[in-house]
Symmetry: C2
Subunit: 406 residues, 2 copies
Amino acid sequence: MKEITGGVTAAKGYQAAGIYAGIKKKRKDLALIVSSVPAKGAGTFTTNVVKAAPVKWDMKVTKESDYVQAVILNSGVANACTGKLGDENNFIMAQEVAAALHIPTEAVYTASTGVIGKQLPIEVITAGIHEIVGELSDTLEAGSLAAESIMTTDTYPKECAVSFMVGDKEVRIGGMAKGSGMIHPNMATFLGVVTTDLAITKELLQAALSEDVKNTFNMISVDRDTSTNDSLLLLANGLAGNPEIIEMDENYDNFCKALNIVTSKLAKLMAADGEGATKLLEVTVTGAASKEEAVTLSKSIITSNLVKTALFGNDANWGRILCAMGYSGVTFDPDTVDLSIESIDGKLKLVENGMATDYSEELATKLLSAKEVKAIADVKMGSATATAWGCDFSYDYVKINADYRS
Amino acid sequence: MKEITGGVTAAKGYQAAGIYAGIKKKRKDLALIVSSVPAKGAGTFTTNVVKAAPVKWDMKVTKESDYVQAVILNSGVANACTGKLGDENNFIMAQEVAAALHIPTEAVYTASTGVIGKQLPIEVITAGIHEIVGELSDTLEAGSLAAESIMTTDTYPKECAVSFMVGDKEVRIGGMAKGSGMIHPNMATFLGVVTTDLAITKELLQAALSEDVKNTFNMISVDRDTSTNDSLLLLANGLAGNPEIIEMDENYDNFCKALNIVTSKLAKLMAADGEGATKLLEVTVTGAASKEEAVTLSKSIITSNLVKTALFGNDANWGRILCAMGYSGVTFDPDTVDLSIESIDGKLKLVENGMATDYSEELATKLLSAKEVKAIADVKMGSATATAWGCDFSYDYVKINADYRS
């Protein structure tokens, strides 16, 4: 199992393209991914009651369609809170792609990201679709163009690919994702597409994805705001030529491991590129009484505005970490908690049994100044552990979101 | 029932003082409130598992002491996450006040606010207590000095007082409070003291307070971080001379109404003076299926970083409000929601049945530029309603919290 270069076109039989259609002012805004043969489709979606039109459509496709073959994605407009017209525009988007590729409309996933409440400029998108099908290519560059086209406030495209063996067949998985605000996936995720040439049943594909997001995309947060558009789509077209995976055997486990490499890397990239973020925060809680409590504690820390602003200021204000654990809803004894921070420059224990150690503030500030900072809290209640990823909270988060629409 | 000038010294028999003891670098940091006669005490406290030493002490006093007579408060150091030494220092603080005033230690409430994890400079505080007892006075100015001395990042002291009649006796209630970060009270509150000269049983005093905070302090949020030190203390010394209130009669109801005037004003002042805040946001949700759901929806809106940053930018990005309602956990039909905004400059309906109205962006920006902005969302599921208070999210919140300790 090894990481390879590439994204959604890394696996066999996938083409992609990304263009400027005219939805946004300047930057690329339309992406298309196509499998040369019908693929099994799996998806996880936002738990927000307010679901964007493409989310409702994709949930239906995932449930009812035997296969999918294309994913059309736009940035600039989220097509959320847009009523019946929004649903109609979304259907037209799928229909145009289907017509151009000669596949059923029900085999087309759609995804939108951007401003909520605005209607899609459907003529612009229709024209864009006619253009983008001519640009499809199976090169890695084409995958990167697609990744670039779904960016909103992201500062760089996010891609990852892995290769692994099933028997004597090489299988590849590649994915792309976008952040970077309104990021607090819950039983779902942001906007991401992962493609693989693995042969696997639809049920096992969905099972692998649903289990995977619990430890990856559901463990990141930028701003505690769960978007209306969160979607993670996974396509498997079987072109690797392996015997189809039909049970949770060793090959299935290997696939899950490879999938985890792709999704956890994309998840970390998203956290690190959170709106206005200057650094990545990785929080591991150990010694929890249950996995669920470890998850709750670690997510409570990465979502605290006060922890995030202290991190931005390189300030070892560890009391805020204990405070965030304390209001998480998990019961523990504050007087037994140990807390350490770690970065490329070393490791430092700040708290032992709930009280400050005699640590060097200077060294603490140095560790916190790194681009990736880890915090490890041991609550000594049991043996469960969980890791969550977030980012610091800077002036730029406010700047970006105070005038997002202008 | 009418609002009067003053704070904790507005009611009969209360003296107060506020001084600079040397805990903080420059500003006043020690406050004392004393009743000339024993008073009934009631309190609500943080739900954070990590409870500061004074919170643990005050919970014991509220439960076990028949009466209280003094409240000593310091700012600068929170005395939270300080272990056994923290409890000992807190006890010394109460003991010194008790000795100076010749009252039992168990009749002294304590409160601390400031940095978590640092030990109290107990010699400084002891010396300060010896000094502050000589400064006690029943003037309104003395109450204001006390209110000033508990400030941390607050930009102004917060006081309120009300006068009402019980039979032919005038009763007064006065209070003070401090914010302004780590503010997300839950079944409890920030740091506040309310005094009254009403005669009432201890049980009814606590009942009135516990009910009151549900609609006042528990409905505000600055940053979704529930502090380790949240405490609201209510003292009733009976000096108004009314027949003691012993049942939930008309007089009790009147007291609750008067209490609500004081606490809701203090709560709104706290929200408006949230760290870095430039304006107050009042959110009312109507048409909810239950009071609980109305509370959840309104609090979800006022705590959304994306709503708060849009408000800072005077941007009518209403999709973020619907999004925050959507991930609150409450079930509703997004396609029936109405949303309006209101300020001193008028009222504007932005959303009707889940979709944008043809509103003027210019007028929306004007309304959002006011110092007090209201948002009213109707979910048309029932008849329950709730109001919550928050503030916008500015660069200064980040600035204040990135270098809070330096």
